[in-house]
């Protein structure tokens, strides 16, 4: 059971980006190099004139990245993906997906729409029928490349969800800086710090339900579509991908949709109420569909520890569960000290699972140390009581 779970999840397999015999590595290198080249050309041309706006944008959004990384790292649990793999997704999202793909593709598609339907139509509907196609696909390509680079590691819709979130974060941060830069230019380069700061305020709030969310849903859908879930659910995958694109499109056509729905107040109602709720429900659904497989793998990896008596069945279930399951387990303990002990033991059980995965199921020194830690935490609790 443990060996099967380790094999299926690929947990513990190291990730290496540089693989000269892997075509995905060369395509990745081409996309990132092309993206970085375009990025430098774009910002470099105006850096001297609009440097203050650009600098404020870079600093503000770099700081904004930190809480996002903490949040995403928390959700990268169960059969955890390695940091260098997630960095690979983030870099693709921030360079290739933005400047190599989305920037030329969005401009061309908007121009084609203008020729077909006129500029007024483009003003109302163009963005929402352009960005979701070019940008969701552009970010989703990171996942396809990572499947080619690490087929053993990228195995479940939950992996897709996490990788999508990181690619989306890279895209979002670079796009935010681009908005700050463009706004500075649009405001004639006067009050550059103010222009960039206004963009930061708006984009950091609306970004809570933005690229990270759309890509997480879209990429979990790709995994279902490719049959990389526990059972084939291709239609589910397709629907999740479409839902992510529709959610993205609604944000980009907020002005026209809001006005059609409720007139002048519609934009605000859509922005602060309808779209955030709908998007969070969509993320919740994608999450609920993806997470059981990961939890089952983690349970199976820890199950032998319950058979040997190191952990109880309840502890294994809680350690492999979501935050509600863990909280329920902690609250079932009597007294503050026991609850604290339960929290420590659960964390130590997750450490043990990580060590078991790193040792590919064998009893390494790290595994033995993690087991001794659990025993120590129990003994510490009982001596203090």
């Amino acid at each position: 059971m443990r060996a099967t779970a380790l094999e299926q999840s690929g947990w513990g397999t190291p990730f290496r980006l540089v693989q000269p015999r892997n075509l995905c590595f060369w395509v990745y290198a081409l996309g990132v190099a092309g993206g970085v080249y375009e990025l430098i050309r774009y910002f470099g041309a105006g850096a001297a004139a609009y440097g203050t706006g650009l600098g404020v944008g870079v600093l503000a959004f770099a700081a904004y990245t930190v809480p996002w990384l903490i949040l995403l790292a928390y959700h990268n649990r169960y059969t955890r993906l390695p940091g260098n793999l997630l960095l690979t997704a983030f870099v693709w999202g921030g360079t290739a997906a933005t400047f190599w793909i989305a920037l030329p593709a969005n401009g061309a598609l908007l121009s084609l729409y203008g020729k077909a339907f006129g500029q007024a139509w483009v003003g109302d509907w163009g963005a929402g029928l352009t960005a979701p196609i070019n940008e969701e696909i552009g970010k989703g390509l990171a996942l396809i490349l990572l499947i080619g680079l690490a087929p053993k590691l990228v195995r479940s819709p939950f992996d897709g969800l996490i990788i999508g979130a990181y690619a989306g974060l890279g895209f979002q941060i670079v796009e935010d800086v681009l908005y700050a830069f463009n706004s500075t230019i649009g405001n004639f380069g006067a009050d550059q710090a103010g222009s960039a700061w206004n963009i930061f305020l708006v984009r950091s709030l609306t970004g809570l339900v933005g690229h990270v969310l759309f890509s997480a849903v879209f990429c979990s859908g790709i995994m279902w579509l490719l049959g990389r879930g526990p059972r084939p659910h291709r239609l589910r995958g397709l629907l999740l991908m479409l839902a992510a694109m529709v959610a993205h499109g609604f944000w980009d056509d907020l002005g026209a949709l809001g006005y059609l729905l409720l007139g002048d107040a519609g934009v605000l109602v859509m922005m602060v109420l309808i779209l955030p709720i709908a998007d969070l429900l969509l993320l919740w659904l994608a999450f609920r569909l993806a997470v059981p497989q990961e939890q089952a793998w983690l349970r199976e990896i820890l199950a032998p520890e319950a058979e040997s008596g190191l952990l109880t069945d309840a502890e294994v279930t809680a350690a492999a569960g979501g935050w509600r399951t863990r909280r329920r387990y902690r609250h079932a303990q009597h007294g503050h000290r026991e609850r604290q002990r339960a929290r420590h033991v659960l964390a130590a059980a997750n450490d043990l699972a990580q060590e078991i995965a790193a040792a590919r199921g064998r009893d390494s020194e790290g595994v033995e140390h993690a087991r001794r830690e659990i025993t120590r935490l129990r003994a510490q609790a009982s001596t203090k009581v």
Binding site: K115, A190, R360
Partner: protein, 215 residues
Amino acid sequence: MVNSYGGRHALHDTWIPVERRRLGLDRRTLLPGLVVLAVALLLRSVVPLIDQAVPGDTVIQAGQRLNLGDGLTVAPPAGWQLTDGILVGANTVQPGAGSPTASFSTGGVSAQVQVATFAGDANALLDQLNRNAGKSGHRQRSSVASERTTITAAGGVTGVAERFASTSGDGVLAAYAFPDGRGMSIEVAGTANQLAAHAGEIDATLRSVTLEARR
């Protein structure tokens, strides 16, 4: 790097047997790699090529004006192609909605309009635009730039304009400031000959700026 775990060598996992290679690459990686390459090239190269091949930007008719928002309008030259911007009376979801940017062009001459809040008069805005251009390096002003002239437009709107000449092309840069706290720049660029051929139309556009009080 060979890193050892559990008595096995990671190298064995990444070693590609010769019979699995094509052109030195792992055959199993060709499909995902080619799919990504094809999709990326379709989006970033093929779609722009289609766009370039498709004619059909809106041709501006005589009497049409661009809605730049909140009562501000300008009349672009008839016969030029509209590549960005919303015409007065266009069928927008929100009736009367305008756009703070516009661009229109004809045979080698292109015009860009930008509206934004600006605290200062038209002269200050033109100074600001010149500073930006000088720092950007894409338009190094030469000494043949004209004296600053005043534009008196319909309805009492006044602006200032300068001609510029650079290594990459010549042009006219105009700036306006409005009582509602907005400023507007209109930059027309092209070669000296093309600009001369369209000088009358450009001048008429710069003098067509109006700001109507919102009802």
